[in-house]
Amino acid sequence: MRRVAITGLGVVSPFGFGAKAFFDGLISGVTAVRPIASFDASRFPVQHAGEVPQARINRAWLGRALGMDAEDSNLQRWEAGGWLRDRKLSWALLAAREAWVQAGCSEAEGEAALSLALGLEQALLEDFAPIYREGKIQWGEEPKAPLPTVRFRTPVDLGARAVRSLLGLCGRTQVHVSACAAGALAVAHGASLIRRGDSDVVLAGAADAMINPLGLGGMIRLGATSPRNAPDACRPFDRRRDGLALGEGAALFVLEAEDRALARGAKVLGFVKGWGSTQDGFRVTAPRPDGSQAAAAIRRALASAGIAPEALGYVNAHGTGTPLNDPAEARALQVALGPWGGQVPVSSIKGAVGHLMAASGALELAAGMMPFLHGSIPGTVHFTDSDPECPLNVMGPDCHQSDVEHVLSNSFGFGGQNAAVILGAP
């Protein structure tokens, strides 16, 4: 069975651009949740989020960030077509470029598969204004002002198109849209392609950007966000937890068959050792309280990795900081890991960066690389008061030095999708 090596990592996070900024932020133990700057949120009940520190995106800025000429035909096409209005597209491009360059990939990897999770399509409200009259959208009327080619809503796979275009990829593409578990599933799917021999190289990961009036408004009305309009809005596993904070960003991995990576002299950063996925089949609105199906996903991941629970040195939890998720996850870990479930170090980075929705699983897998790359486990920012309903060994806000061989990362999505991925040290 082929081993799945990680040879490249690219990150865009609320801490900034690049994996270094991400890891520096996690190591510092501070939060990147701060007042929203990309639109006027001053009248929204929630005004804080884990926003990537770039309020406006245009061709010139993206060109500089990607190291491209601003007159590049791709950039021109994306801007003219209205693509750049969807922030997650830029995050996907930047993370993809970073991972690709770090892995030393070139045209030789042009047939790499792409396994990308993307968040909800963004309805572009400004497109409606020219044709919105008398309380209705006048669909058939050609507006006076010319509109971009991407009108009214962005296609579900727009980010994948852009990444393929940027890197010249022509292999298979899978676009995952399974809500909050999508990022982890995208990486697991990519690893599966390599293990089975269907692909030698896969660019896998996720991008999402819901910090906009629709996304923020919808989450506020759902009651998922913390009602406290403050940087410490999200308190994973803390007794005082009361909701999540939104985040945005992207994380992409170059996954490669180990023998191929070694043959071309690529540096192996880690391995994707195993994965498991299940469906709660309970409710769209809430996870299964007993955590049984989440536990099943974790057990499948352990079996896939061929390791016992005690081989795990760290668990990067889904840890949303909502009243329902955290205790359900705690139960899942105890059921799946047995006594070790209450002892293995656990942390969630959502207090630091927010909940990146479809991208959360991928960014948290990137955080799971921190022990391999920096010898330390990220802490749980804003966790100070443990909850008896979550009897886990939750790490406090500071990062912890640790020598870890295997990391488990959990992602549990709306609708009851459960994903567990296990990483291994290089």
Binding site: L125, G135, D157, R172, V177, M219, G281, Q417
Partner: protein, 389 residues
């Protein structure tokens, strides 16, 4: 490893009953008509293939709209037909072209908004239904099917114009890896939403504009008929399905960089993966309806399958089905082969000269293996090899 097809259902512009739809395909009927459910809307793209019967009433109408409800109907029907039970080794794989924001729900929030977005919350976002976000989750149909059917195993929701082929491929992999014993694959898409029709009408090689419909592969080159469908297929490992399998499938998918339509090399690569060394007797083509695209497709397929291979195009009858194309075409061809008759290309009277043999009439055939091909923007390909059981 190919997968056995043991359950099936669909909602198509030619109807919901598989055998009745087959009769209409064999009769050369097309679903092309004015968009009845968008009556009065003056689109440049005037014709489409629409599903006419409404979806069954459902308690899940809070979380699913029209196409999602059709997907739910199909999924349950196909599952029942397969005669299997849910459990930890049964999974749901969903492919869809893309969610539509439900503008009616949003009107209260949009009505008083300003173009610059100032004061958006006070101007209407505070009026959103509390479940508005949940109603727009990408994976609602997958989640609800898993609930209804007790399917607790792995699964995914994937998106894009070839998402049905993506979902078929992912389900096949799970079956071959042994993580599942059965997979329900559901795909749905509609190209008849207002914003899609606006976009198709403005695209260079998009949908037919105006009133006249010309069949693909006829040299007229005026575009494709937009359509819609929901399809559900139950797949199992072939061993143990004796007597229950309608046929066998092997799916592949791919993408050609940033091109709007896939080029020859990517199309060929995906087709070769679907065939996996097996010869096919007939091909159901992508039917894009533009001379250049049809020509590329015919030359590519002929180089692999042979110049004289019969060519049909069920999407000339249904309309282009987007994410639902690959599963719908697969089901149509396996039904046709079992009947021993290949369907003609609807409305095709004059054939553009070139490789492959486009069918203008229903043709008796001993075909046992078909290749179905679908493409969609941008540069996406789905291909399925279908064999009769």
């Amino acid at each position: 490893m190919k997968a056995a097809l043991t359950g099936w259902a669909w909602r198509t512009p030619l109807g919901p009953d598989p055998e009745a739809v087959l009769e209409r395909l064999l009769a050369g009927e097309t679903a092309a008509a004015h968009h009845r459910h968008l009556a009065g809307a003056p689109f440049e793209v005037a014709l489409g293939g629409a599903i006419t019967a409404p979806p069954a009433p459902s308690k899940h109408q809070r979380f699913l709209r029209r196409m999602g409800l059709y997907a739910l109907d199909c999924g349950k029907e196909a599952f029942l037909k397969a005669g299997i039970k849910g459990g930890p080794r049964v999974g749901v794989f969903l492919g869809y072209g893309g969610l539509r924001a439900h503008w009616n729900d949003m009107m209260p929030a949009l009505e008083h908004q300003q173009e610059d977005g100032q004061d958006a919350w006070d101007r209407g976002f505070r009026l959103f239904h509390p479940f508005w976000m949940l109603q727009h989750l990408s994976n609602n149909a997958q989640a609800l099917l898993a609930m209804e059917l007790g399917a607790r195993g792995e699964g995914i929701t994937c998106g894009g114009a070839n998402a049905g082929a993506q979902a078929l491929g992912a389900a096949q992999r799970a079956l071959s890896e042994g993580t599942l014993d059965a997979a329900l694959v559901v795909a749905h898409d509609t190209l008849l939403e207002p914003e899609t029709l606006v976009e198709l009408g403005s695209r260079a090689q998009g949908a037919i504009r105006g009133e006249s419909f010309m069949a693909p592969y006829g040299g007229g080159g005026s575009g494709f008929l937009p359509g819609e469908a929901a399809v559900a297929l139950v797949l199992e490992r072939p061993a143990g399905c004796a007597g229950r399998a309608l046929g066998f499938l092997h799916a592949a998918d791919g993408a050609d960089g940033s091109r709007e339509e896939p080029g020859q090399s990517v199309l060929a690569a995906v087709v070769e993966r679907a065939l996996d060394g097996v010869d096919c007797d007939v091909v159901d083509g992508a039917a894009r309806g533009w001379m250049e695209l049809d020509g590329i497709e015919r030359r590519t397929l002929a180089s692999i399958l042979g110049e004289g291979t019969p060519l049909t195009a069920t999407q000339a009858a249904f309309g282009q089905l987007g994410a639902a194309a690959a599963p719908a075409q697969a089901l149509a061809l396996v039904l046709a082969m079992r009947r021993g008759v290949l369907p003609p290309i609807a409305s095709l009277s004059r054939i553009e000269l070139g490789p492959l043999r486009p069918l203008t009439k229903a043709e008796p055939s001993n075909a046992r293996c078909a290749l179905v091909v679908s493409t969609g923007a941008p540069g996406l390909v789905g291909a399925v090899r279908v064999e009769v059981a």
